[in-house]
């Protein structure tokens, strides 16, 4: 191998006056940045390995450490940026596809930030959620065209629904891509706050069956861990067709992450790569998808809603219409900022469309076709705060999925190196020593706190709009105004400009 042309991305600065040579940083860094030099008797750092996960900074008892971007700069060039040059160095050295973790970080516009919410003044009073009831309960599932009622009683039961106390769920993250303790944290938080978490394509670990009532089990192309008990264990089943970070691309869990427990849960041999292909090998058309939807419904006695998750792509509205007609009860759409454990960098950054547009287009299309109420819409792909949730619902979503936000609540510092398996925060790793760093009880509390905090904020925003039930916000685009958007963008989003 030739000499690497890569230089450190970060500087690790140690304040020698504060450093007490306690070696906490050495123990904490799975990337082996810090090491104790016996001869010199001091802690040194190899900055080339630093991913800026901030673990050492947070854990340092004397606040002696700080990490910042390396000041080393390439010659100024607006076209050949440092990232462009470094990518070529890596590919010239390795001949491989560039991998990355977490979501698209390119500076594309964030359309949530180009929408502003309404608030009541005088003619319609605001509602104070501290004094008045404010209802966030949401049902996800297929709704019949009408209710049949006889003698004051429901003559026919409605199709199965997921009942959410808050319109936010934890999105699909598999056991394998994240640690069991991370999943346990989310499962407990979901149960505590009356919502759901999603197994992703990793199957259901035996310790998680107790959270079945708050679990959405996923059936992905690899069919890892899919068996009758698994399907029965959850409250709903999700067929994963695509995800926002890598539309049209399959998944790959390297063999070194497939330890005994992952192997048992996924039903694959220990140490083998778990490759989930892009297509399901029994789905090559919408009719095939329909058959799988009904196979799963048959297998679970029509007692569980079936969701289909797709990535937001160019023709998403027509695809969603087909999925609704194929019998899905819920459609989950994942935008191009959706996170991931590992994705080819070029795919992540260049394929797909923003969730805001996908949602607006799908909701409008389903309404034009008169089938919007038959199916529930869940959107994902970088919902960063409660305002994003409120805007998504006003645009037309029934609920949202969060994943990156939830992992940040557990401690993720967005170093974007999940694919290395060396997550110092015990989240995106299977290393037993690292996994232990995340206490599932503390993790659950942090994730539940996040949901509760957002719940308070959503209630305040709803009250400001004079609304006391979340269903009156759904698709209520009059509550949104666009700022800094073109006519065409406003038209697709179906909203007026500020001042209109």
């Amino acid at each position: 191998m030739t000499l690497s042309y890569l230089t450190p991305a970060f500087l690790v600065e140690r304040n020698d006056k504060r450093c007490i040579q306690c070696k906490v940083c050495v123990q904490q860094c799975a990337n082996e940045v810090h090491r104790f030099d016996e001869e010199e008797g001091e802690v040194l750092a190899d900055e080339l390995n630093c991913v800026n996960c901030q673990r050492c900074v947070v854990m340092c008892p004397t606040r002696a450490l700080s990490i910042r971007k390396s000041p080393n700069e390439f010659r100024q060039n607006a076209n050949w940026t440092a990232d462009a040059i470094k990518s070529i160095y890596i590919q010239a050295e390795t001949g491989g596809v560039l991998l990355t973790g977490m979501g698209n970080d390119r500076p594309y516009p964030v359309y949530w930030d180009h929408m502003l919410l309404n608030a009541s003044q005088v003619t319609n009073p605001s509602i104070d959620p501290l004094r008045e009831p404010m209802e966030l309960k949401t049902f996800l599932g297929r709704k019949p065209d009408s209710l049949v009622i006889e003698n004051g009683k429901l003559k026919e039961k409605i199709p199965p629904q997921l009942e959410l106390d808050i319109p936010i769920m934890f999105s699909a993250m598999s056991f394998g891509s994240i640690s069991l303790n991370a999943i346990k944290s989310l499962a407990r938080a979901a149960r505590q706050e009356g919502t759901f978490y999603n197994t992703g394509e990793g199957g259901l670990h035996k310790d998680l069956y107790e959270y079945g009532a708050n679990t959405i089990v996923q059936v992905a192309s690899g069919r890892f861990g899919v068996h009758p008990e698994y399907l029965q264990a959850g409250a709903a089943i999700e067929i994963k067709i695509g995800q926002g970070a890598k539309p049209g691309i399959g998944g790959h869990l390297p063999g070194e992450k497939v330890g005994r427990e992952v192997s048992e849960t996924r039903m694959i041999p220990e140490g083998t790569d778990a490759i989930s292909p892009a297509p399901h090998h029994d789905i090559y058309s919408i009719e095939d998808l329909s058959q799988l939807i009904y196979s799963l419904k048959e297998a679970t006695n029509y007692e569980k809603p079936v969701s289909v998750k797709i990535a937001a792509v160019h023709n998403v509205a027509a695809i969603a219409s087909g999925i609704a007609r194929a019998g899905a009860d819920i459609i989950a759409i994942d935008g191009y900022r959706g996170g991931t454990g590992a994705a080819p960098l070029r795919i992540r950054d260049n394929v797909g469309i923003p969730i805001e547009f996908a949602l607006a287009a799908v909701d409008s299309r389903l309404r034009e076709e008169g089938i919007r109420n038959q199916v529930s819409l869940v959107v994902a792909g970088s919902i960063r705060n409660s305002a994003d949730v409120v805007k998504a619902i006003a645009l037309g979503a029934d609920a949202v999925y969060i994943a990156t936000g939830a992992l940040i609540a557990l401690g993720c510092h967005m170093c974007q190196k999940c694919f290395t398996g060396k997550c110092n925060w015990g989240i995106a790793t299977q290393d037993p020593q690292l996994v232990k760093r995340l206490n599932p009880e503390i993790g659950a509390q942090r994730a539940a706190n996040l949901l509760r905090a957002w719940k308070h904020e959503i209630k305040e925003m709803l009250g400001g709009m004079g609304i006391n039930a979340i269903e009156s916000l759904r698709g209520n685009r009059l509550m949104l105004r666009g700022i800094g958007l073109t006519e065409k963008e406003l038209q697709i989003l179906g909203i007026s400009a500020v001042g209109e």
Binding site: R367, I467, E471, R474, G475
Partner: protein
Amino acid sequence: MLREGVVRIPSGCAISGMMNKKGKCFSGEDIIKSIAIMHDRSNGLGGGFAGYGIYPDFKDDYAFHFFFDDDTVKETVETLLNKQFTIIFDEPIPTRKIKAIKDAPVIWRYFVQPKSKMVIQAGLPEEEYVVKFIMKVNSEIEGAYIFSSGKNMGAFKGVGYPEDIGEFFRLDEYKGYIWTAHGRFPTNTPGWWGGAHPFTLLDISVVHNGEISSYGTNRRFLEMYGYKCTLQTDTEVMAYIFDYLMRRQGLPLDVVVAAMASPLWMEINRMDPEKRELVKAIRAVYGSLLVNGPFSILVGTNQGMIALNDRIKLRPSVAAIKGDFLYVASEESAIREICPKPDKVWAPRGGEPVIGLLENAQVNYNFAAGENERIAINS
């Protein structure tokens, strides 16, 4: 300045209504007096009335009340009308010249029967055929607006204080068994006759005090089923919600009420399991028709009158009974003005409907008499 229909105008208001449960008809004089006492709740930019039982000579014909901008558009509409309907009788709606009412459009009424051949050809139930025609005229023909379309009932409305509108339309000369009235306080309007209340569809008429914050959700749901909310006012949406739930979905009145002003979850959780399942299903399926924000409405139908408040009672409404009469109004004074000593006066709770049905009403209504949370006046 944009006209209503292009822009949505929020407004505050006064409402009043009275009915005789035996179906005995009485003059429109009292309802004018009642709404007039609440003069300060309006600002002269809209007033209107609905009367039921007012056209006994044409009780089986659809009574279309039209506003026309001019005679040219009237001719266009008549060509269309003649194609789809048989006109039994038509005339200008009689009005009185009064100082306060200016710039009235051409106001005409037609008593019509749908041409049965056309209805069969369209493959629609007769009422749906009529509704389609109304939606077509109101959304596609510039300068023409059908503001009333039921049988043996009619709406009368315009720009002005309600008492002046009542006098203008000579309502003292009509007799009906239900009268509802409205005084409007729009915050910013050029004053358009079509924007005044009541809003109607077939025999449903709605007068409304409030502003619906769920308008966008309600409207986008209804649009899926062919309702065209051309007037962009929240009250129009209410009339369509009633039509959708009662006529199109065939739901009993209690379910309609539970969809529009659903019990709160804390109440639902206390219900017996069977009822809880029903109300949960109503919220899950018809959640987009929950009406949010402050409202107090009076709905007139050929079967009776329904008053309904938002769930947390952000707008006033008072009800009273005297003999065979039921009264509902924004203020008690509006009732006492015409019925000084009612047998019973009460303020209905948020979300609690007051339902006054005619003795011979054929309405599917399930709530048991005397049930705490609902009051059926005829029981």
